[in-house]
Symmetry: none
Subunit: 126 residues, 4 copies
Amino acid sequence: MINIDPRSSQPIYEQIIFQIKENIMKGIMMPGDQLPSIRKLSSMILANPNTISKAYQELERTGVTETIRGKGTFIREDYKIGADDEKMEEIREVLKNIIVEMHYMGLSKEEMNKELEKIYDELEGE
Amino acid sequence: MINIDPRSSQPIYEQIIFQIKENIMKGIMMPGDQLPSIRKLSSMILANPNTISKAYQELERTGVTETIRGKGTFIREDYKIGADDEKMEEIREVLKNIIVEMHYMGLSKEEMNKELEKIYDELEGE
Amino acid sequence: MINIDPRSSQPIYEQIIFQIKENIMKGIMMPGDQLPSIRKLSSMILANPNTISKAYQELERTGVTETIRGKGTFIREDYKIGADDEKMEEIREVLKNIIVEMHYMGLSKEEMNKELEKIYDELEGE
Amino acid sequence: MINIDPRSSQPIYEQIIFQIKENIMKGIMMPGDQLPSIRKLSSMILANPNTISKAYQELERTGVTETIRGKGTFIREDYKIGADDEKMEEIREVLKNIIVEMHYMGLSKEEMNKELEKIYDELEGE
DNA sequence: GTGGTCTAGACCACC
DNA sequence: GTGGTCTAGACCACG
């Protein structure tokens, strides 16, 4: 369920965070589900436990998961956060970057929308 | 024309690269135009000349600009490159990340498309 | 394995790039091998870490090496890229220059071919 | 007869030197022929007279041309120099670089020899 | 004037 | 430990 590419320029801990969010969006992980323990995930993806720990801390900090003492880490029932203006602004910045890059690749607005829909459906459709 | 946020996690040289591409897309900079000299831009945005140089070299390497010895750096007449499969795959990865993040913020597919169009029009419309 | 001539007109970072490619061709460095760390090579050849870094980044950009976060820089398993028309044209230009220079030194076509074979065998033969 | 590419990374003065040597090799320019005056060449190729001057000085220094006071600059009758060990070593270095690059493009020794012969014949054949 | 290279030395993120 | 980014300031080649 979690695939890490150590060659990627995206930090491993971010890859973990993102893939957990992706799994939630795809319905593979559901609210209430337990995440693998740090040790277990660490041996599964051959990563340093500190790296997993950092990812889990970040997930908890942003309200995706919650940790229950002695039980483990779980997807929160109310994992979806509302509009966070600051975060939304960040996302818009990245989106702007991406749009400029796609424009530079020769894509029209319509083609960009198609790309977005295609990726969205791949995520939601499962 | 170029605004740098030194507190951003995005490296300064990348901000420069991106903003120059953005300016080209907006029509603020045109093929044939000369970029500010390294020293001039360096004093304009209060960054080190080496940092500007790195950005300019990357722009040249990716075919956006060309350097004429002793004259300066210019937007290439044929600055737009075609589709590059590897690059496109990278872009899709980032777009996927963004979509998951937007989904997490509670946006529907339609809202995402609207967001994309809004940003696109801000870029193209000027 | 890497010898730098600081008095050469060829930039140090280019000498590094070239010698690593040379070492690969000679079989001294093999796909999968780790390059010396920036700091280590820096102290070995008495050059600034930034200079090494520039060479390593160029090697990565051209597909000779890959960087694994926190681990180091490695020769790629699939390091050899195919023909690139633009690059080949550049090479022909330089070769033309060299031929004119050799002609100017009084070498015949046959002597040039012998020269080429001699150097080639020194590279391949080890 | 002389074509300058101001975009090239090769300095303009070197392009001039090389093209004059190329013209001699091709038989377009012959020993005894007069080179265009600095002013004339300067306006022909739209380059700074200082640049032309630098090229002419270098040509004279290396024994390709000679200047006759009040008359102009001429191709020397004995323009071909004998073996200069230092220069030959330099040439070998560049040739080695080129061979590594061609190897990296996937060319065999035979293909390299063919390339060399092809370029040589283009130069000599005219 | 232009850009290109290099050093010295610092700070950071990641693993 | 690894590489990535940045600053400060120097020197050089080129036109």
